[in-house]
Symmetry: C2
Subunit: 178 residues, 2 copies
């Protein structure tokens, strides 16, 4: 598995079931959402801006940029439409070698700022993503269990790395147009 294959396999519309575990309070949060992953072919300038704002050299070679849109419904306030949260971001892989590289994101996952992550693949194709934010470190792993089903887990640690704040897991099923 390399990043090009991984992105190609991820392109599509997904229905996601996500469970968040707050470990200190033993609280569950279950969220249904729709995720749309598309090739980003629109605006090369925007990609160059993303690189410029990062710690990566301006002339960095990128591959398979894509956009992600999500629309989530939380179980905390099911009757409150304001609880429906949505967002989008652009993601730009900058490979170092076939198995690893950097990933630039216009909006981060754990904190809503641009984020720079390190990615690598395990020997079975599992994608591992590590992101340092100001207050936390997120470790995400994504693996395909079939062509149309993928799993995504993420663990949020304190920046010191000792405390685990939250773990979450999403099962994502591709919506197949009939």
């Amino acid at each position: 598995m390399d990043i090009e294959q991984f992105v190609a396999q991820s392109i599509g519309e997904w229905r996601s079931m996500r469970s968040g575990h707050s470990l200190a309070f033993q609280q569950f949060e279950d969220v249904l959402s729709e995720i749309s992953i598309k090739e980003f072919i629109d605006d090369t300038n925007q990609l160059r801006e993303l690189i410029k704002a990062s710690s990566q050299p301006n002339e960095s070679h990128y591959i398979s940029p894509f956009s992600m849109e999500w629309c989530a419904e939380s179980d905390w306030e099911p009757d409150d439409p304001s609880e429906v949260s949505s967002g989008s971001c652009i993601i730009l892989p900058i490979p170092k070698d076939e198995q690893s590289g950097k990933l630039l994101r216009s909006v981060g996952y754990a904190e809503s700022v641009a984020a720079e992550s390190e990615y690598r693949f395990l020997d079975d194709g599992t994608f591992i993503l590590k992101t340092h934010y100001d207050q936390s470190i997120a470790e995400e792993r994504i693996w395909f269990v079939s062509d149309h089903v993928r799993c995504r887990s993420s663990v949020l640690k304190t920046s010191e790395g000792s405390g685990i704040l939250q773990a979450s897991f999403a099962s994502e099923v591709r919506k197949i147009s009939v």
Copy 2:
């Protein structure tokens, strides 16, 4: 990581938060449970019986046998004490090489019969377990995110391998005695 290290790191009392995702019905099930993992040093005969009942040669060399007890409380019927489910099993690793082998279990996970699984480790130490049952195939992965926190995901497929029946994820935190 080898099986001996993995079992040693797993020994202890764990608090588990587990979320089950029924993909076809988009239903969540959240379960809190206590898991106790202990070295099994009691009864060598019981281990030999387990091997005898399996497809493995009688003289198979095993390592680090352990027992697992669990006590779970489902969210489906929180007021019904009969919903508190518990159980225990003995687990017996039979290594093939440092990275892989067989795992015999006195009671299976997806179906309540003795089970024989294949295990292997990925390059980052993630433990992968594959079990063929009569009606289904379970693929489990367990990885440590710190000494005292581990994650466990499992995916249940139909025996034909095409349909994904269920995915689940558990965050497990070691109960540290003060």
